[in-house]
């Protein structure tokens, strides 16, 4: 008996220990790596990393381009640079799938293994990276380069932090909007809606005919956030959000109550697929519903044009796009768009010659051939003359909405600080699951925002 007990005890001890060791392992190595970069950042950022750069002529570039067409676009500049450069450096790119990437990057940084170039969505997380010293200002390089005048002001602005340029915008303007199946709309005699009540009338017709109005895969959480952002913005513009984010307002504002209530009303009316919170965007379960023609509309980022085109050019023929309609009786400007100007921003965690070489690589994204490749694959690169380049009808609609927008708001989940963004994504998922009332969800979000501002 004694030995049995000993064995049991030993097994318990080992399993219990291995658990903490597993998680603490990351944290443990963190402190080591942290101190390394520490010395580099606090001083004028030129010294310590320069030593490193003289050791290796390879520039490591992390990105999220695992699928076409992003893969070809990202590779294009890298290949051009490697073939043409005289700097002596080569760029090696390592793509990682979207949702995994965000975490992989944080873990890499926390263990001092931050890549030389990495992409981000700008906003809150980018600011965290910069604050932590994992990005270098590139104002001088930008000013000396011809891409400064080539790219849109708004795109550059999105890559700035505290008045300095840290990021280079690359290949896509993405705004949130509704993709719809034109054939289905014709079949049921539906027209593009100008107000939320018209949109609801469309949805009701579709439900009557056994079609799910909106394809949505909300296990990924940020996908459902699109509805929350769109409804709140159309209800009362951007002012409530800006006020809530800087602490002068609150997420308990009536526009968020409206957004939450509308979402729950729509869930009740079966506007979304069954099991919406179990469907995964990463597994393509939203677009599958579109392809199977079980769903008629999809509210998501305009990068979907590229996705549809690549997956099935025939299906893309059936697709139309409209900007989220106005809320009835609201004075809010319906031209406001939510999205990003120049998505996938490049940050540079290197200095000196190596930084110059890396920046040279980034300029290839604005070369005429690269821009043509982007436009051909349904992207909207943030260049000033973009309106002359786009011919695809859907992309043209999206571009018009962008260019006519009185202002643009970055995605909430990217704009907000990460800890608050996570709560926002959780509560918006709870709204779709009907497990929280809009008031509870908004109170929880406000609480997270307040505790962030208090810690700051």
């Amino acid at each position: 008996m004694k030995s049995q007990r000993l064995i049991a005890m030993a097994i318990t001890a080992v399993t219990a220990l291995s658990m903490t060791a597993g998680c603490a392992g990351g944290a443990g190595s963190t402190s080591g790596g942290g101190t390394d970069t520490n010395t580099a950042d606090t001083n004028a950022a030129t010294e310590a990393p320069a030593v490193e750069s003289s050791e290796s002529k390879e520039i490591i570039f992390w990105n999220i381009a695992v699928e076409s067409p992003d893969k070809e676009i990202i590779s294009y500049a890298v290949d051009q640079f490697n073939a043409n450069t005289t700097s002596g450096y080569t760029v090696t790119q390592i793509p990682t799938q979207n949702d995994t990437y965000k975490e992989k990057l944080v873990i890499a940084m926390s263990s001092g293994e931050c890549p030389d170039i990495y992409t981000s969505w700008s906003g809150g997380p980018m600011n965290e990276y910069i604050e932590a010293g994992f990005a270098q200002p590139i104002d001088d390089l930008v000013n000396a380069s011809d891409i400064k005048d080539k790219l849109m002001e708004a795109a550059w602005a999105q890559g700035q932090y505290k008045g300095k340029q840290y990021s280079v915008p690359t290949y896509n303007i993405s705004i949130s909007g509704v993709f719809y199946n034109k054939e289905m709309f014709d079949k049921y005699g539906l027209k593009v809606p100008n107000s939320v009540s018209e949109l609801e009338a469309i949805c009701d017709t579709l439900v009557e005919n056994g079609i799910t109005p909106f394809a949505l895969a909300n296990a990924s959480k940020w996908t459902g956030s699109m509805y929350f952002m769109s409804l709140a913005t159309r209800f009362d513009g951007l002012e409530p959000f800006n006020a809530a984010a800087d602490g002068s307002g609150s997420f308990e504002d009536e526009s968020y109550v409206y957004a939450g209530e509308k979402i729950q009303e729509w869930v009740g009316k079966k506007y979304f697929p069954d099991g919406v919170n179990s469907l995964s965007e990463d597994d393509g379960q939203a677009k599958q519903l579109m392809y199977q023609e079980k769903a008629a509309m999809l509210l998501c980022g305009s990068w979907y044009t590229g996705t549809f085109q690549t997956d099935s050019p025939e299906f893309y023929e059936k697709i139309g796009w409209f900007s989220f309609p106005a809320v009835d009786g609201s004075s809010s400007d319906p031209s406001i768009q939510i999205g990003t100007i120049g998505d996938q921003f490049l940050q540079f965690n290197i200095t000196g010659d190596k930084l110059a070489a890396a920046f040279e690589m980034a300029t290839y994204y604005s070369s005429d051939d690269a821009i043509k490749l982007m436009v051909d694959s349904g992207k909207i690169p943030p260049v000033k003359n973009i309106a002359d380049l786009v011919t695809d009808p859907v992309t043209k609609d999206i571009l018009d909405a962008c260019l006519n927008a009185s202002s643009t708001q970055l995605w909430y989940d990217q704009y907000l600080p990460p800890a608050v963004a996570e709560v926002h994504k959780d509560t918006s998922q709870e709204l779709f699951g009907l497990t929280m009332t809009p008031q509870e969800a908004n109170a929880k979000l406000q609480e997270a925002m307040q505790s962030y501002l208090a810690d700051k």
Partner: protein
């Protein structure tokens, strides 16, 4: 005598040489990280900056009051109880079946063992598709009988139970093998003697095999308990703690805090809290299970 001493000294030296690699590895990868996690839990730190702010026991106070942490602890306890209640009896039943059946049942032995050979991530993906609301296995089968789509992973009331069933599917084979090994420890003589004395198979199982298997069942229960309390991978792959926080576990909560919310200090506190809770529960359970044996 001097020869004896010399031999002992030699044995000690040899032992320390052989043990050194293990001890060094354990110090680096287990002891130091545990120490460092506790250390970090006293700081406010986002995990990537160089500077950390010492805030004393603030994180620990927050942890005590953190309803999300205790909600995830509750989910862990639900998994723990259901795992023990479901996995061990079924594992024992399968092992008994295989033990009584002998060689001709080897086919089942192999088939039943397969789930354990698959990695948790693969199992998670597999079931995410099998349980999908639209076009998943369960929904399709229900459809044949005129039922509608069944939302198993997206419904907060069902998600945890669904995931527990998958965990059981994966780990029952482990307990099956565990009990099969325990059966081989029971001497064949005992079986023969009991049959000669006129025992039926049922009587043999209830009155002889079961008591002899008790120690194995106890350690299985502890293994299952610790395993469920620190559970992470399958949940992370299948639901990511969602929908909402209905399948959030202590480990996924820790991961979220550390790597998604840029809150490494608090994440470490959660990890240390887990460490303390799990160790305490394991020790108490062992005490309770063994208390009957002492007298």
């Amino acid at each position: 005598m001097s020869l004896y001493d010399k031999r002992r000294a030699e044995t000690r030296r040899a032992a320390s040489i052989f043990l050194a690699p293990v001890i060094i590895l354990m110090l680096i990868y287990i002891a130091y990280p545990i120490y460092d996690s506790f250390n970090i839990s006293f700081f406010r730190w986002n995990g990537i900056t160089a500077g950390r702010a010492f805030i004393g026991i603030q994180n620990w106070l927050d942890l005590m009051r953190d309803s999300s942490f205790w909600a995830s602890f509750k989910n862990n306890v639900v998994i723990m109880i259901l795992s023990i209640v479901i996995q061990i009896p079924i594992g024992l039943a399968l092992a008994t079946f295989l033990d009584f059946g002998g060689k001709k049942l080897n086919v089942f032995k192999v088939i039943w063992f397969v789930p354990l050979l698959m990695s948790s991530v693969a199992v998670g993906f597999l079931f995410r598709y099998a349980l999908a609301t639209n076009g998943g296995l369960i929904s399709t089968i229900f459809g044949w009988f005129g039922g509608g789509n069944i939302d198993l992973l997206g419904d907060p009331n069902r998600a945890l139970l669904t995931v527990i069933m998958v965990i059981c599917w994966q780990f029952i084979p482990f307990y099956m093998v565990y009990f099969m090994a325990a059966y081989t420890n029971i001497s064949f003589d005992i079986y023969e003697a009991s049959i000669i004395d006129g025992a039926t198979r049922g009587q043999y199982f209830l009155n002889i095999a079961l008591p002899l298997l008790t120690p194995a069942m106890k350690s299985a229960a502890i293994l299952s308990m610790v395993g469920s309390l620190k559970y992470f991978d399958l949940i992370y792959v299948m639901t990511g703690g969602g929908p909402g926080t209905s399948t959030e576990l202590m480990a996924t909560y820790m991961y979220k805090q550390s790597f998604k919310n840029f809150n490494m200090g608090y994440g470490s506190t959660v990890a240390c809290g887990m460490f303390i809770l799990i160790s305490l529960m394991a020790l108490i359970t062992m005490r309770l299970l063994n208390s009957g044996k002492e007298d």
